[in-house]
Symmetry: C2
Subunit: 232 residues, 2 copies
């Protein structure tokens, strides 16, 4: 039962779509998945901006010319992808997700959105009626398979083409055991990362909120902090 | 500004009191601090049980005969200690802390209590009116210097005399910068541990709640998980 990367499913044939793929987090994840050889579809409200981002990402260091990196509107990306990462700002989360319920039916949905507020004292966790962004997505997407994951991955590290390895664990919250394998395998395609099951969706709030702590850590220690689970 | 253990203050002369020192977490921390050479006072509602626990801890592997390990009632422990760890069950947290406001005045108070509920689906975070156990302590102890820390340290690892090293980071939430040094230095006296500033008290909730995720991780992977902050 220990973490064992050799038991992960083969996800190399899956197409990963990123809703909000032109934002910092989405773009960074798109780059890392493309660099790992995964077919990636960048989604945006504007298909033009999505296509531009796709061209830019495809040109970055380490992305093989044979790898598909394309851009399209969010709905088309949802429809054409096997695994769909939600990486939009929290402000637009509910509306964006709700509008994609039909094309996301039957799909694996990975929510990496962190509902945070900022004031003069820095970041803090916002209260979410459903408990967390991931639970909100699950409520809005009853026909999808939803997990929270990739909440803590530093966008600057993801985006830096000079960085070959990002040592951290991706915490996966879901009720769906099979998702842990698929999403864990996607995480493991990025050198240095492991995907670790971290509890049910009802325990996603504190993982999302912990990003406020990571921001405080980054500020204090001039770092791009993530977390590694010990004893695994 | 990177984490640098060489800049930590000398805390070897401080007496550490543990309120709830006969519980699993408190007892484990008491053992590790005693093993590190710190004077430790075990507090309990029953001074007899506290004294028994102190004798048992003093006899464990690695505790030097010259190190003070004594037991007493919670109030006496609060009064005689420089740094006081609150390690009581969440159920009794408010009442225990409130009753110690006077002897804890001017003291450093380290709250490691995690407000969790358990049902058939496992652990989950409880809502706390003040936001977190640590904020509740801060509200009840206006004349003390309060932080949250040691929330994620596995009691079985702490208690196992065969274990020499516990590799994890102690996340410290507080408004009081100087506390980070003192509590970080105490953490660093336990081999393998670092004390890391992790934000203001208002961001302590998710650190306490994250213990629910660690319990899920432990169950899934048969581990005694903690966390290490990466890139520090």
């Amino acid at each position: 039962m220990a973490y064992d990367a050799s038991t992960l499913p083969d996800v190399s044939g899956l197409t990963v779509g990123i809703i909000g793929g032109t934002g910092d987090q989405g773009r960074g994840l798109a780059y890392r998945f493309a660099r790992a050889g995964q077919s990636v579809l960048i989604g945006s409200r504007s298909s033009e901006r999505a296509a531009e981002a796709a061209v830019e990402i495809a040109a970055l260091r380490g992305v093989s010319p044979g790898v598909e990196v394309a851009g399209a509107g969010n709905e088309e990306v949802a429809r054409r992808s096997d695994v769909v990462v939600i990486a939009v700002p929290w402000d637009g989360h509910a509306a964006t997700v709700a509008a994609l319920a039909e094309p996301l039916a039957g799909k694996i949905v990975v929510d990496c959105v962190n509902p945070l507020g900022f004031d003069r004292q820095g970041p803090y966790a916002l209260a979410v009626a459903e408990g967390s962004a991931a639970q909100q997505a699950a409520a809005l997407l009853p026909d999808s398979r939803v997990c929270a994951a990739f909440n803590h991955v530093s966008a600057p590290l993801l985006a830096d083409p000079a960085i070959d390895r990002i040592d951290l664990d991706v915490l996966i919250c879901t009720e769906d055991r099979e998702l842990v394998g698929v999403v864990g395998a996607l995480a493991a395609r990025i050198p240095g990362m492991r995907g670790i099951y971290a509890g049910r969706l009802r325990n996603a709030h504190q993982i999302e909120a912990f990003t406020a702590n990571l921001i405080a850590i980054n500020k204090r220690y001039k770092a791009h902090a993530g977390i590694r689970v010990t004893d695994l």
